[in-house]
Symmetry: C2
Subunit: 142 residues, 2 copies
DNA sequence: TGACAATAGGTGTATATGCACAGAATATGC
DNA sequence: GCATATTCTGTGCATATACACCTATTGTCA
């Protein structure tokens, strides 16, 4: 029962997710940032300070998962979390200068990973896969 | 930065994996078994008692991850792990009758999930996605 | 304004993931 | 047969994931 034989959509999505994550994490290793963390840092860089809930909705991630994913990044000084003044429930997350530096390094390695994947898998094929992954996730939100 | 805008292959694989897993886990909930666990139980049913390493290779999973995934199933009596007599390093994992019962129930629900996904996503499209997921995982093993 | 709903976030618990390191048993080669 | 390499598994650690339940704050509306 090679995974090539397991017809479960969820299992194969998990399987691909594991292997792609390992590939990216190994490539990103010199930066000390993982691919999940890179995404968070990058969104924060592009969309400025964001509340945890807003960030979670933006990435379609579970709120509590995101909150815990932010902890090591805050601990290592890559980002800051401060209570909002207008709304004291909110905790706005923003990138620190250290975080920006790390992100810059990580992004270079990330581009390498993207290119290497496209090289092995095919550029157009990879683009289509991206669309299908998004559509598959959307298909189960009903 | 909706995930529909993040062009990272790893992130989108993770994203789809999370959402598909949630969909399957919710469907399987009445059986008390998760989709990751169902796969393990099913392989053990089909391929008989297997050592942990053999099972891990079969599913292309990390050995230590698999070992830990087996623990709750052993704890709950769905499977047994016994030291092999020919090779005392080995620990053979096999389904118990209780495990088979649970598996049977879970498989019914799993089929429902498979059908519902295919209904929403398209049967042929889903088949193609499966192939592409397998190919993508294979593409990064170089 | 005061009751109640809705929103933002935190915590406890459980599973999932994988790396580095370690120990025990077996296989190999001389 | 013995030294060595290989194989099989376990453990410590850290991150990732998400559900249930909780508190605090803000919004709504009669």
């Amino acid at each position: 029962m090679h995974p090539n034989k397991v017809p479960c959509y969820a299992f194969n999505a998990r399987h691909a997710s594991r292997h792609l994550t390992q590939f990216y994490d190994h490539t990103l290793a010199p930066s000390g940032v993982r691919v999940t963390q890179l995404i968070l840092l990058n969104v924060l860089k592009l969309k400025g300070p964001l509340a945890i809930n807003a960030l979670a909705k933006s990435l379609e991630m579970d709120r509590t998962t995101l909150g815990r994913n932010l902890q090591p990044l805050e601990r290592d000084g890559l980002l800051e979390m401060v209570r909002s003044q207008e709304d004291k429930r909110r905790k706005d997350v923003r990138l620190t200068p250290v975080g920006e530096q790390k992100l810059e390094h990580a992004m270079t390695l990330w581009h390498e990973a993207q290119l290497r994947f496209e090289e092995h898998f095919g550029v157009e094929r990879a683009q289509r896969l991206l669309e299908e992954l998004r559509a598959a996730a959307a298909a189960v939100e009903l």
